[in-house]
Subunit: 375 residues, 2 copies
Amino acid sequence: MKIVLAPNSFKESLSAPDAAAAMERGALRARPDARTVCVPVADGGDGTAEAIVAARDGEWVELRVQDALHRPVTAKYGLIDGGDTAVIEMARASGLWRLRTDERDPMRTSTIGTGEMMRDALDRGAKTLILGIGGSATVDGGLGMAAALGYRLLDEREGEIEPNGAGLARLRRIDSGGVHPRLRQVRVMVACDVENPLVGPQGAAAVFGPQKGATPAMVNELDAGLRNAAACWREAFGADLLNTPGGGAAGGLGAGLIAFCGAEIHGGFDLVADVAGLDEALRGADLVLTGEGRLDEQTQYGKAPAGVAKRAKRLGVAAVGLGGSVSGEMSALYELGMTAMFSIAPGPIDLNDAMTRAAELLEHTSEQVVRLWRS
Amino acid sequence: MKIVLAPNSFKESLSAPDAAAAMERGALRARPDARTVCVPVADGGDGTAEAIVAARDGEWVELRVQDALHRPVTAKYGLIDGGDTAVIEMARASGLWRLRTDERDPMRTSTIGTGEMMRDALDRGAKTLILGIGGSATVDGGLGMAAALGYRLLDEREGEIEPNGAGLARLRRIDSGGVHPRLRQVRVMVACDVENPLVGPQGAAAVFGPQKGATPAMVNELDAGLRNAAACWREAFGADLLNTPGGGAAGGLGAGLIAFCGAEIHGGFDLVADVAGLDEALRGADLVLTGEGRLDEQTQYGKAPAGVAKRAKRLGVAAVGLGGSVSGEMSALYELGMTAMFSIAPGPIDLNDAMTRAAELLEHTSEQVVRLWRS
């Protein structure tokens, strides 16, 4: 019997690798003779690098970079395939989580730290860069990232602009002469689950700007700035990125990565699952356990457990979802391929207790599921 | 596929029949083609009559009787087998739940109402009486019950004593002349899970007296009274009931039923399960769902879900336990025959919400179990 453990993280209580380990302990208590494979997954946001590094037995690189406000911080990214592939989460350097609420200011924040991580990976010889771009503090169209990679971003007087939200409107010309020599040789893959275009009412500034500190006036200024950057990209790279789905992700970093790095945009879960080797793990398996903090009516829309269930169904494997909480109408998830779903709550319990005890409860419920399954 | 639904009650939120119905709805949502059989169970306490009446499609008899303090109340008992068998819970008439805390007084309380229900069943022609004796407010050795059935309980001057705790010490002679003519023709079966003898440090007065309002002085007086009653029983019926296991149940009603009615003492769950026809239902079944409010380390000791699991194992049926809460070391329950156990809690939830939503949550979890099982 082969059992795959493929959970997402349980937010604020268990990382995906820790959740997979807890599930594995439970499964092995129920069936000590089972063959188990842990493939922690993610949906492109928080935990993406952790899931991939764990699934592929990679390693971490720590380095000093600038946060979104140019302050020095220590961040890390993952290397897998013996260093051939780097897995970089933009939020590790340029994330909103690093700022106090009163520090949020999308005119000043920059993706420069993300670019510094990418540059470090290029220096180390990585051939593929995988980027998770959730959780950004920025609306800079990737200008900071580009500057870190060697692009010169020039204003109408050929002076270098500040690579941040305020700089977007001043950009006139992009000089690629000093760009990192390996940038055009590598494949850049972006895990992205939003469909928002770069500009307009559904764009990066209008939809995501306010949570990053943008006032209504800033939203207008940033939107115009991104539109200006798109004109410069067309001029420099020949690409029209105004309406590209996902271009508005991470404050326009999505479009910026396409423009400056020739990046491909992928669905977050599918990219992670492909890199982590989920299908290979599922082949020949009998059962897969997945899950995350909440399983509810939103789960069907691109969340990791739904993605696991879909792939499991395609490969004829039964999928069971475990959640910190489970609620709502489940029929769409059944359709996708989820056989059954259980909460790990052991009875009436408050949220804090449940989170503190998450590993133990997940192990216990996994044990019960495997005990029951084909008993 | 045949699925048996055999839960105990979920205390204060779902009766056993309602719990079985919720499980059945969930099972049929998962497998609309399944054959289902509801056999609500009980352990001889609260809900015993309800479970048996539901399982055997019986009916209820309502009647006016006296409560433990001789106040008129309406109580009910069940009739099954077309009236051949009566199912009587002593607590319906003589239960502690009917008294305010400050009314508890085991010197004055009496099982007379229980005897009135038995008499009514005899009048209606019942051939078997099944008694659940949990929850009593009394320590009268069954004197009240005996008086209601026509026994004359006489003091040393041949005057009738009050049939209550205080009367025990005054009893000298039992006159069976006026006893109900059908009493010696019927079989009386008592569902009883305690092993306590009538008297002594583990006896009815010492162990259960205090919760019924006995002061330490009363405990001594009642213990001596029960000892005196046992001497009178030996005189009248030839039986020595001082050390009979279970004689101390329900304030000595256990011993009193043996003495006055020739009753047999049975394990609570087993008696209910036999009468309800659990084994017949389990024969040819694939899966049985059981459960109660709590599943924990105590469950293995004679609780209904453990009993269901044991019988299921004997008959080769997989058993799954569902509880309002599930906790503690489970290996003994696995050994007994429980395949797996799940809480019905959908996530962090408080006790009141969980109890209010018990039917819905039980239905949902039952659906998940049946979906998973041999999926």
